[in-house]
């Protein structure tokens, strides 16, 4: 009940840590093969380096066919191949386009059609590791396009100034084109604007703790069946005691075990993880909220275990059904794969899992610094779930004449 969940949290957090880092903080390795004979290829390389999104690896000694091999050898996740005539073609393109603009506004002769037809756009080749998700590739491509646009616009401006008889573009105009981007202010929507970036620890520690709490179904459910079959329930019926009190006592013990699991696993996340270079677990400042979510998750887990035990006829049935149902609930509820990466229909289905609402409660506290207004929904749903399990348990034991 304690050791196995701990091992699970350690293993899963370590495994998922690098995956989360790719999304959050790790730089993508970008191989640049710059065969450009001019200077524009280098400019692009410098601009990409300044984005701080990539870990740039420049290797100009390989040819086009070898780039693919470099990716296959996992030397880089993405690669850019800049062809030999990149600057030349870019210059030609911007000169002709500048002439076209000048001709259009009547400041120059018309452009020779042959020149337009012979115009070959510069090409850059982008390679990516197939494991990289499409949406991530599109983000990288958009970033490259954005930097290419700046180079192209600067060249265009130089062409226009040249067509108008100037030697060069004034420095202040050049800089304002390059630097004058419309600012986008990033706002992270946590309640107190305190940004806590989701990482493997923030997801895995609460998620697998909840899984461990619910996995008690194997122990408690089996215990209930055993008592039904051994005749303990029958003996208890002949005693001057309230049977509800006995069931309640059992639940209190298991709830206590669940709370101990939380304290132990969370403590490991806070104190031990940083020592082995895993992200530290950051818990909410809303201590009462955290306590209530822990308690309500424990009650939901214990109630479910009780229900499984009461409806099962044999210990094998209880163990099998209990364990598999928790694995399904965990998968649906976002224990293995966080809900935000699930397709929309799965997000809707995941709401059927009690584990989803437990995780939602912890996410609300740990990542969104949620207040009571945001917590009421998971608390209410888990209370209804627990109550339903308790009612089913009561009715089943009553039907079996055990209480």
């Amino acid at each position: 009940m304690f050791l196995m969940p701990l091992i699970l949290v350690f293993i899963i957090t370590i495994i998922q840590d690098s995956a989360f880092k790719i999304i959050n903080e790790n730089k993508i390795s970008l191989l640049i093969v710059n065969h450009d004979s001019g200077s524009e290829g280098n400019k692009l390389k410098d601009m990409l380096d300044q984005t701080r999104m990539f870990n740039l690896i420049e290797n100009n000694n390989i040819d086009f066919s070898e780039v693919k091999k470099e990716i296959s050898k996992e030397n880089a996740m993405v690669a850019l191949y800049i062809e030999n005539s990149f600057s030349e073609k870019l210059n030609s393109k911007t000169i002709i386009l500048s002439k076209l603009v000048m001709a259009n506004i009547g400041m120059n002769d018309s452009v020779n059609k042959k020149e337009l037809i012979s115009l070959l756009p510069p090409t850059i080749f982008f390679f990516n590791d197939p494991v990289l998700q499409d949406n991530y590739c599109y983000s990288i491509l958009n970033l490259i396009h954005s930097n290419l646009s700046i180079i192209e616009n600067t060249k265009m401006l130089e062409g226009l100034y040249s067509e108008m008889g100037y030697d060069s573009v004034p420095q202040n105009i050049k800089e304002s084109i390059i630097n004058n981007k419309i600012p986008i202010k990033r706002i992270i929507t946590s309640v107190d604007d305190n940004c806590k970036i989701p990482n493997s620890t923030q997801h895995n520690v609460p998620a697998w703790t909840i899984f461990a709490m619910f996995f008690m179904v194997v122990s408690l459910g089996s215990n209930i069946v055993k008592e039904k079959l051994s005749g303990s329930f029958i003996r208890l019926k002949t005693m001057p005691t309230n049977f509800a009190l006995i069931l309640f006592s059992k639940q209190i013990v298991y709830l206590f075990v669940a709370i101990m699991q939380v304290i132990l696993i969370f403590s490991i996340g806070i104190y031990i993880f940083p020592l082995i270079k895993l992200p530290e677990l950051t818990i909410s400042s809303n201590t009462l909220g955290t306590f209530i979510i822990v308690i309500i998750s424990g009650i939901a887990a214990v109630s479910y275990a009780l229900m499984v035990g009461s409806i099962s006829k044999t210990q094998e049935q209880s163990n099998g059904f209990g364990a598999i149902s928790i694995i399904i609930f965990a998968a649906l509820g976002g224990v293995w794969v966080p809900i935000f990466v699930m397709p929309e229909y799965m997000k809707q289905i995941s709401k059927l899992s009690p584990l989803h609402w437990c995780i939602d409660g912890f996410y609300t506290l740990f990542l969104r610094d949620g207040n009571w207004l945001m917590l009421y929904k998971p608390i209410l749903i888990l209370l209804v779930f627990s109550l339903s399990c308790q009612i089913i348990t009561y009715l089943k034991l009553k039907y079996d004449k055990l209480i």
Binding site: G231, I234, K237, T238, P240
Partner: protein, 250 residues
């Protein structure tokens, strides 16, 4: 004249999804201090009858009356004076013998002191003192049966109901159990028990009730029943009254 402690009047039981009566219009009077054996072949209704007497099961019709010193009382008010030893070993295997004893004692609302007194009195009588701190899962069937019995009498009941208390035990344990039951009966506890062991029943019981197909076919003092039916022992009596046919279909 002896005092009645349990009186059964026209008791019938028909289980749901069954067309046959498990108990059919049974009437019995059990007096205080008696040792009554409820005997019969498989499916005769022995466990059903004992379950209704100790309140585990409800009857379809008829009544079980309980008495304390000739005054009729409700089951609820006498429940604390009834002990029950189920056929199944209703014990917690992960607990020690003493922990089981202590747990059930607490459920009977005995104080720690009362539990200790009972422990010191009862454990030696059934030879369990030396193994009191051992987990029940390490016990033999005989040891479990003896502990099962001790838990049934932890609260000094006036009536002790036992459902086949010696099933699957060796001759030594069986002998110890029967001697123990005789001893506590000597101190005033009424014994009502079911068994398939006729020799054991003959050794223990002064009154016998024989059930067959849910009907009470004989009830009286053991000696009188043997004389009336002209047989030498209970096995012959049972065979004479219930026949030699197998009861595999029940």
């Amino acid at each position: 004249m002896s005092n009645p402690i349990i009186v059964i009047e026209n008791l019938s039981k028909c289980y749901a999804n069954s067309n046959e009566m498990s108990l059919d219009n049974i009437s019995l009077k059990m007096d205080s201090g008696e040792k009554i054996g409820i005997l019969g072949p498989n499916g005769a209704g022995k466990t059903t009858l004992i379950s209704i007497i100790c309140g585990i099961m409800s009857s379809s019709s008829g009544k079980v009356k309980y008495y304390i010193q000739d005054n009729e009382v409700t089951y609820k008010s006498i429940r604390n004076r009834i002990g029950f030893v189920p056929q199944n070993l209703a014990l917690y295997n992960e607990l020690t013998a003493f922990q089981n004893f202590e747990y059930f004692g607490a459920l009977y609302r005995l104080s720690k002191k009362q539990i200790m007194i009972q422990y010191e009195l009862l454990f030696p009588m059934l030879g369990l003192t030396n193994v009191a701190d051992r987990k029940v899962k390490t016990f033999s069937d005989g040891m479990k049966r003896r502990l099962n019995l001790l838990i049934g009498i932890i609260h000094n009941p006036d009536v002790l109901l036992l459902d086949e208390p010696t099933v699957g035990v060796d001759i030594q344990s069986r002998n110890a159990i029967i001697s123990f039951l005789n001893k506590i009966n000597g101190k005033g506890t009424t014994i009502i028990y079911t068994s398939h062991h006729m020799g054991e029943a003959e050794q223990l019981c002064n009154k016998i009730a024989i059930l067959d197909y849910g009907n009470l076919i004989a009830f009286g003092k053991t000696k009188d029943l043997l004389l009336q039916n002209n047989v030498s022992d209970l096995m012959l009596l049972l065979m004479k009254l219930t026949g030699e046919g197998f009861r595999d279909n029940v």
